[in-house]
């Protein structure tokens, strides 16, 4: 298997925890501000809005494959970076948290991409941004925000487990 440098794994684990903490803050702020505190109640709306979820199938412990796991991790981070961008303007109070979260996700995507390049497993061209959902109302944007943030939390949880596995 391709060796992953310890410093890369330690820094990546720390980046995941950093993003998780900020993502949690955003979820709390969305709940406190708009009383949208239960993402599971927004599943139907999420489906109609087309809020995507990034797959991490190659990072699951049953089917762990380093090369495609890193690719899924990178693509997923780009997806959530785009989703967070689509939420811009959701409200002034959340703007700072949203900006910082977006920067952290972007920086983590760079960390993954550069490691893929170092391992020689990076695709020739960086994947392009997926088309992002559009929101017809402030409520849809807020609900989309809760869903995207919640999906990101799940995504980070799986990523963390995979990275811990690589670190063992």
């Amino acid at each position: 298997p391709l060796p992953l440098p310890k410093s890369f794994l330690l820094k990546s684990l720390e980046q995941v925890r950093k993003i998780q903490a900020k993502d949690e803050v955003l979820l709390e702020q969305l709940c406190a501000t708009y009383k949208l505190c239960h993402p599971e109640e927004l599943a139907l709306l999420g489906h109609s809005l087309g809020i995507p979820q990034a797959p991490l199938s190659s990072c699951s412990s049953q089917a762990l494959q380093l090369r495609s796991c890193l690719r899924q991790l990178h693509s997923g981070l780009l997806l959530y970076k785009g989703l967070l961008q689509a939420l811009a303007g959701i409200s002034p109070e959340l703007a700072l948290t949203l900006d910082m979260l977006q920067l952290d996700v972007t920086n983590f995507a760079t960390t993954i991409w550069q490691q893929m390049e170092n391992l020689g497993v990076a695709p020739a061209v960086q994947p392009t941004q997926n088309t992002m959902p559009t929101f017809a109302s402030a409520f849809q944007r807020r609900a989309g925000g809760v869903l995207a943030t919640s999906h990101l939390q799940d995504f980070l949880g799986m990523a963390y487990r995979a990275l811990r596995h690589f670190a063992q």
Partner: protein, 308 residues
């Protein structure tokens, strides 16, 4: 034609190194009607004595020109006057401002700390000796890979406020968990210099704040500590909780003059830590500090003292 425009000073350089020579010439146009054919041109530096130039000559078209070389300009700023005698008075024809100073020395002791509260990287340096000239400092940086041999995107220059020797690079210009090359450039009219270059990942130079240390209160569900023991708990500084940290405790009997006793390698969060080996009759001062573990980082300062 007014008298002032009769004469004009030209100088070899508006700014010179302090102590270097400077040469000036004052020329009087022939159509300056108030003056006789061969006016005597005199010079005065600041409020010094009036003196003749090194040489006065008549140029083609009848221009009278006096030239003077000041061998060592030791003023960092001075006015040089060109006079002409009119009757028994001296009339100023022109004035030039001379400046002298030094090119900037290499800025030194450049260091940076990442502030997790503002998410900005703050770098500071020592500007070096006084130059006596307006000198601009700029914090320059590039994103880089691995050990900073290869530079990638430039980061926006960080220009400190006037007179300050630090600058703060905002979060949006930082690529965390990647190395960047950072240095300081100093520039004035006499030259440019650069500090040594740093190669760092902002997250490796986090300014960590100390943890919060408490004594565990006695309550029904907490078994009181044995004689000579204390229950302690602590929590890392909140903005840094995503970082794996290692902490160390130090304690000292008050007014005892004894040195600190240190307990190293403690986890970043302690829910219930029993500290024993203490004298029951004494009051102890306890402090704690933490550092990022497994990755580069700086120790936090010691926490405020806890007296127990």
């Amino acid at each position: 034609e007014s008298l002032e425009s009769c004469g004009h000073i030209r100088i070899s350089a508006p700014v010179v190194h302090l102590g270097d020579p400077i040469t000036a010439s004052c020329s009087i146009s022939p159509n300056c009607s108030h003056l006789n054919q061969e006016p005597q041109i005199l010079w005065q530096l600041e409020d010094g004595p009036k003196q003749l130039g090194d040489r006065q000559q008549r140029l083609p078209q009848g221009i009278q020109e006096s030239t003077i070389t000041l061998p060592h300009l030791n003023h960092t700023q001075a006015f040089l006057f060109c006079f002409v005698q009119l009757g028994n008075s001296f009339q100023v024809l022109d004035q030039a401002e001379l400046q002298a100073g030094y090119p900037p020395a290499k800025p030194s002791n450049l260091s940076c700390l990442m502030n997790l509260t503002t998410s900005s990287l703050i770098c500071q340096w020592e500007p070096g000796p006084e130059t006596y000239l307006p000198t601009n400092f700029t914090l320059k940086s590039f994103r880089s890979r691995a050990d900073c041999q290869r530079w990638e995107d430039p980061v926006l220059d960080c220009v400190p406020e006037d007179g300050q020797s630090y600058c703060s690079i905002p979060r949006k210009h930082l690529l965390l968990y990647q190395n960047m090359v950072i240095w300081v450039q100093a520039e004035n009219v006499l030259g440019t210099s650069e500090s040594l270059r740093l190669c760092l990942d902002p997250m490796d130079v986090v300014k960590l704040e100390p943890p919060t240390l408490w004594a565990l209160d006695f309550s029904p569900d907490v078994v009181p500590p044995q004689p000579g023991c204390l229950w302690l708990r602590w929590e890392p500084w909140k903005p840094s909780q995503f970082m794996d940290q290692e902490c160390e405790l130090r304690y000292q009997a008050q007014f005892s003059g004894t040195s600190w006793t240190q307990v190293p390698h403690l986890p970043s969060r302690g829910h219930r830590f029993e500290l024993c080996g203490l004298h029951q009759a004494l009051v102890y001062t306890l402090q704690m500090r933490c550092i990022r573990s497994l990755l580069p980082g700086h120790w936090s300062s010691w926490s405020p003292s806890l007296q127990l």
